[in-house]
Amino acid sequence: MDITFVKRLITTSIGRKAVMAVSGLLLGGFMLVHLAENLLLFKGEASYNAWVDLLLSNPVTPLLEVGLLGVFIAHIITGAWVRLEDFLNAPRGYEARKWQGGRTIGSATMLYTAAGILAYLAYHLLTFRFVDHSMGFYQMVTSAFRSPVFVTIYIAGSLALALHLSHGMQSAFQTLGVNHPKYTPLIKAGGLLVAVTMTGFALISLYYLAGIDLKAAEAGYQVVVIQ
């Protein structure tokens, strides 16, 4: 059995980058779904909890979770590997060095935003995943969103994610060989849009921190975002 083609995905520069790109796109997709889920908060406690219950009772969910973990690990390992090699091979010792306009804030900070996201993820899992869920998910989430400390960390995490994706999304397409004068501008714009969308996480948390939901309820409005 010749598995050279599998090995090449790990042992070659382009293979590793492809794994990183595919896993990155999957993770980006996951984040969009995750954001959509968070929007359910606006529909009220019952709807949100019902969705979470549905999710948790589905036997496929643990499999998806393991899959997600796998994708995440693949992204981290290939990313770390690429970066380690780059660190070892990077031009070193220029007295003066000017960037020529190719780099963006997003591209230059990938490693740092990655570290930020990872740290945030750990915090996120500790606060939401590996805790007592008896109070109900809606309560757990919204009460966290009313804590300034939590929201500050949460906003930092989502901004890091936005910055990461501002480079990562379009970069993944380039890595997978999708570059065409017709489509590349759209892909770049789309990537930026996805990145900007990630600030939605921050906005939702701010919504609860500012207590807009409570004020709205007092005023007798039911805010419905998703019909």
């Binding site: 050279t4 083609f5 090449r8 995905l9 070659t12 520069s13 382009i14 293979g15 590793r16 980058k17 492809a18 690429v82 090699e85 780059d86 070892l88 091979n89 990077a90 031009p91 070193r92 010792g93 220029y94 007295e95 003066a96 060095r97 000017k98 960037w99 020529q100 306009g101 190719g102 780099r103 963006t104 591209s107 230059a108 990938m110 480079h167 379009q170 970069s171 380039q174 890595t175 997978l176 060989g177 999708v178 570059n179 065409h180 004068p181 590349t184």
Partner: protein, 255 residues
Amino acid sequence: MNSSKHFSVIVRVWRQAGPVEPGKMVSYKVANVSPDMSFLEMLDILNDSLLKKNEAPVAFESDCREGICGTCGLVVNGDVHGPDEHSTVCQLHMRRFRDGDVITVEPWRVKAFPVLKDLVVDRSALDRMMAAGGFISVNTGAAPEANSIPVEKDKAEEAMDAAACIGCGACVASCPNGAAMLFTGAKISQLALLPQGGPERAARALSMVAAMDKEGFGNCTNEYECEAVCPKQVKVANIARMNREFLLANLFSKR
């Protein structure tokens, strides 16, 4: 023309006696610089004045001095190939500088291009990559009549855009990761775009990428600094094409 307005500059230049010796920046004053002089002619003057003092001149390489041979390559004040866009350092002229300017001159500082002396580096890695597949295997005399293989004009132009690479190594020198993707991508693209290169497309992509990895270049993180400094405006679309060629070859060829 303002050839009468001669001026002086301070050149801070990397001096390194040999591949394993430590190097350092050394400052020299160069007087009587004409704005019409090329940057390398200014270094010629510096070298002639060093020679007259029986000091070793600064080793640097250049040949055609018109931006096509790819021999020259310096980092000037942090700019790969100097401050002018889309040109090699031999095309830079002193009218870009002012009296009293301090000009920092460094070699390509890339692991895969070790310094031989002063500003001269060894770029033979690029030749070894070419030997790994940067060609079309047709023996002399075996070629069919040239017009028997039509090539779509747009494709031919794109192939020419990629083929314009002069192998100077600026893409590697400017890459935050020391990657040679633009060089390799350009050659793989040129030969993949032309029907003549078709029969060896898959093998070429696999072997050239393997050779590139072996030489100790970095990975691509799609920051496009290479495209920004390339004197021949080779586009990063060529890197995407290389990625595509490689991934498809890996998945679908028999190799």
